[in-house]
């Protein structure tokens, strides 16, 4: 009922190829776009900065990983390392005096180059073995970062990002940071929404489903795998750079450690492979829920007058984060995006759902 559509009414290829197949989806997207634009005026700046902003940037990053893992079907456990390459290259370029616009592109391109190295592993193995190789590559990158002061910024292993300046505007306010993140996330989202409508997207799906069958149909799986890794790495690089420029302000190797790689993969899988809206949900859940639970535990223990160990409190978010991954996978292995789809499909015909049976 809410979706005002009680069946599939597409009668030609043009309508079947639309970005939003359900009009209500498009309307929802527009509403959220406006909400996103208006957020700085609605949301208190503390929340804007510590929740909304990382959510948007991580979503952009997760969408990049979703391109490789969800669409092209290649497991990637070294995504944080690729983000690190982008972040460090961009910041070094900016510190060198290049304008930020160019620095960001340099970061993205540097990530693409390194990310394509991961693709060479993908040309040889897949599945579990690819996951392990990329994991090992993550460790190598970590090692290089922490062991080369020239990159990581000397003995303190931290690198100050210069003030962000885009289109001649110095960005220093919370609102400004937010809009940069918002703009980037929207850009990536539009790209990903369009992906399945393009030949590239279809080729990637073909490679995912059966690479040699795709090859027989004339899809050059070699080329598309590298392209997928390069594109996703570009997104990773820029997201990494923006993360440091607008959120951390200091780049440090731990921000891109192996745990972060696992976290981004968790966001993608919890959200749903090859689901754009799912990535938003997945990131929100993984990023926000552990913190929320901690808050709840703290206040609950205070209310009950119990003394909770500081250490216990410090580790509960981690336990919750792990449990969250397990539980969501058990409830719906196809992720939150699929859950959303189920609810939407139900509401599309509600209250006349008996018509479907």
């Amino acid at each position: 009922m809410f979706y005002r559509l009680s069946g599939v009414y597409r009668v030609n290829y043009v309508s079947d190829g639309r970005m939003f197949k359900v009009p209500a989806d498009r309307n929802l997207a527009v509403v959220f776009l406006f909400l996103g634009l208006a957020a700085p005026f609605i949301v208190p700046s503390l929340y804007l900065n510590s929740y909304m902003l990382p959510w948007l940037i991580w979503t952009a990053a997760a969408l990049g990983l979703n391109l490789v893992t969800g669409w092209a079907g290649q497991l990637h456990l070294g995504y944080a390392a690729v983000m690190a390459v982008g972040a460090y290259s961009a910041i070094h370029a900016a510190r060198f005096g290049l304008p930020w616009e160019i620095a960001l592109v340099i970061g993205g391109l540097a990530s693409s180059v390194i990310g394509s190295l991961f693709a060479f592993a993908a040309l040889r193995v897949k599945g579990l073995y690819l996951a392990l190789t990329t994991l090992a590559m993550q460790f190598v990158m970590d090692w290089v970062l922490t062991h080369s002061p020239a990159i990581s910024g000397g003995s303190h292993a931290s690198l100050q990002a210069p003030t962000l300046e885009l289109l001649g505007q110095e960005i220093v306010s919370d609102t400004g940071y937010y809009y940069v993140a918002f703009g980037w996330c929207v850009l990536v989202t539009i790209f990903m929404l369009n992906l399945k409508r393009t030949g590239l997207g279809r080729a990637l799906v073909a490679v995912r489903e059966k690479d040699y069958a795709a090859a027989i149909l004339g899809v050059n799986s070699f080329y598309y795998k590298i392209l997928a890794f390069a594109t996703s790495s570009f997104i990773a690089g820029v997201s990494g750079a923006l993360l440091v420029a607008t959120f951390f302000f200091l780049a440090a190797p731990e921000q891109f450690s192996v745990n972060v790689s696992i976290q981004v993969l968790a966001m993608v899988i919890i959200g749903g492979l090859a689901s754009v809206i799912g990535s938003y949900f997945g990131v929100a859940l993984i990023l926000l829920v552990p913190g929320l639970v901690n808050g709840v535990v703290t206040s609950a223990s205070q209310a009950l007058g119990m003394q909770v160990n500081v250490e216990t409190l410090a580790h509960i978010p981690n336990a919750v984060y792990g449990a969250l991954i397990v539980v969501i996978l058990l409830i719906e292995p196809l992720g939150l995006g699929k859950l959303y789809g189920n609810i939407r499909d139900y509401l599309m015909v509600w209250p006349f759902d008996q018509l479907r049976k």
């Binding site: 193995v125 460790f139 993969l265 981690n318």
Partner: protein, 295 residues
């Protein structure tokens, strides 16, 4: 070139490597019995060590009682993991199972630390820290004990996988559907493999806990354990032992050469390089099964 020193490096490396094998056996066991990559072995190992500590230090049981009791508890937990988590995902793509075991790992680690705290503690096995000399070569006693445990487990599992139950587990890894069709309880088999891996985790946790203290660093052995498992072939117990020895030697000797060049800390780099090279050159490892493809 100092040969005595090099031999000492190699022998100690091999002993450390056998301890990696101890860890890797847990991964191999589960892969061999269900074709599931077990990335939760780090969390299990940590939990195993903490359960032993809880029983011995907190509950005051003697170690000879605490360790078997912990093994029994972990055995039950392994079955529980299959019942609660893996059963529902059987037959799903490897991405999801990988993520599931990673989530399990994170959960076990978080839970363990939330319950028992992150301060490093020692198991106090009572193995003397007195150096032990083989001729001119210095060997650590606890490493010898650990290597002995690894070899004992190896022998036990070699026998086990030739027994009727062991053959049934290998059958499950080959084909779930065919196993069901001849009346093998796949669920029980997979549960048993997790239970055994959890018991192995107790052994690994105690030995490693004695060497480097029981804390969250225990779960960082995962990369080394995985490398050993892959190098040996994910489904070969013999492979895990031999690959452990190889990796231990390569790591110890290699680090000795590389450390002065790169300013220390090259062990992780060597391990990662071994993993990458193995997968690139010989994904099925030294002794792993090829997937038989008949045309």
């Amino acid at each position: 070139m100092d040969w005595v020193f090099l031999t000492e490096l190699a022998i100690n490396g091999a002993l450390t490597g056998l301890l990696y094998s101890l860890f890797a056996i847990g991964i191999v066991l589960i892969y061999k019995a269900s074709s599931v990559p077990n990335l939760a072995q780090g969390g299990l190992t940590m939990l195993g060590a903490y359960v032993v500590l809880a029983l011995s230090h907190d509950a005051g049981l003697p170690l000879w009682l605490a360790i078997p009791l912990a093994a029994v508890i972990m055995f039950g937990l392994g079955f529980g993991i299959e019942r609660v988590a893996l059963r529902r995902l059987a037959g799903r793509p490897v991405v999801m199972i990988l993520m599931l075991t990673l989530g399990l790992d994170i959960f076990l680690r978080g839970m363990t630390l939330a319950v028992w705290g992150g301060t490093s503690r020692s198991v106090e096995l009572g193995v003397s820290y007195e150096p032990f000399f083989l001729g001119d070569i210095f060997v650590s006693r606890i490493h010898l004990v650990g290597a002995g445990v690894a070899l004992a487990l190896f022998a036990a599992f070699m026998v086990f996988f030739r027994s009727r139950t062991g053959i049934k587990l290998r059958a499950i890894a080959d084909d779930y559907m065919a196993s069901w069709s001849v009346g093998i309880s796949v669920e029980r088999g997979v549960g048993l493999s997790w239970a055994l891996a959890s018991v192995v985790a107790v052994a690994a946790g105690v030995i490693w806990g004695e060497i480097q203290g029981v804390d969250q660093a225990l779960s960082l052995l995962l990369l080394k354990g995985l490398t050993v498992a892959v190098l040996g072939g994910l489904d070969s117990i013999l492979g895990a032992i031999i690959a452990g020895i190889i990796l231990g030697i390569v790591e110890n000797v290699g680090a000795d050469f590389l450390d002065p060049l790169v300013g220390g800390g090259s062990r992780e780099l060597i391990v990662a390089a071994v993993l990458i090279l193995t997968v690139m050159i010989r994904p099925h490892g030294l002794f792993g099964r090829h997937d038989i493809e008949r045309v």
